[in-house]
Amino acid sequence: MKKNNKGFMLAETLIVTTFVAGVLIYMFIQFTNLNQNYDESYKYNTVEGIYALEDLSDFILDNSLVINNIDVLLPSEKYTDISKCDEEVVINSEYCKNLVEALNIEKAYVTTNKFNNTVKDNLKDEFGNFINKIKSEGSEKYRLIAKFKDGTFATIRFGE
């Protein structure tokens, strides 16, 4: 009986299929990451967000009592929710609430510029991937991190 030499061996077929499948899966994963980064890039540190935080930092710095209260809170609590406009922190709660509303801020935290991984972990639920993209650099003393009502995020350093 003659041996039929047509076609591929099973091993050959499996190897080629595995190799091609591996390449396609790798390309798909890279492309998904690229698409996600593209979508996210438009939501982080928008022009409007940066200006809004500049306005909020002006409010904080203009009032020395506010800065004193923050200086008292930060060593122990590591971060303060400034958007709540608590009277113990901001003195003029009504003005602060008007300002937060006008700036379309959903949540804003003041922290030290060089904040550690504990702060990142605690804020991760609120800010998601954005918190991982913040680099602790610069000589400024404080950092504002905010989430806006339109789903965008922004952060600035401020204060000497």
């Binding site: 698409n35 200006y51 002006d58 003029n92 003005y95 008007n98 700036l103």
Partner: protein, 165 residues
Amino acid sequence: MNKRGFTLVELITTFALSAVIITILTNIVLIMKNMYNNTSAKTELYINQANLSNYINSKLNNGKLLTYSTCNDSNFCYTFTFSDGTTSRLVITDNKITFGDYNYVLKSNNYVEGESFDILNTAPLSDSTLNDSIMVINIPIKSKLYPKENFGVNIVYQYNSNTLY
């Protein structure tokens, strides 16, 4: 017997595999081309947004606003007077936003919707030197290409009501 060439099974397998790979790659290229086209249109809108925001914010913050008033105009129009005696007029029409000598002409796909001008006052503070009022100029700019996004500006100007009237 002539043993050159490929078997039928080899050819069919190769063509089938190539067709699958080419289809996937073509899809990826088309998606990336679409992404590129969208990016350039969006980028232009964001650049215009940044320019408008920068100009108005700089003018209000650096120019020391003295007073404001509405214009005798059917369009959305306000006149701002600064301490150096100069004035800038903010006018919004169907396809153009003007602030002083800065003009932003909107393309046919873009339009302003729901512009507003508000003053938020709070009760006088014990420290009368602190800001107690907020001027909010909201100019939402929408695009038919991206209906869910806002490419407009939201200008917030904080001031002391004793210095502005």
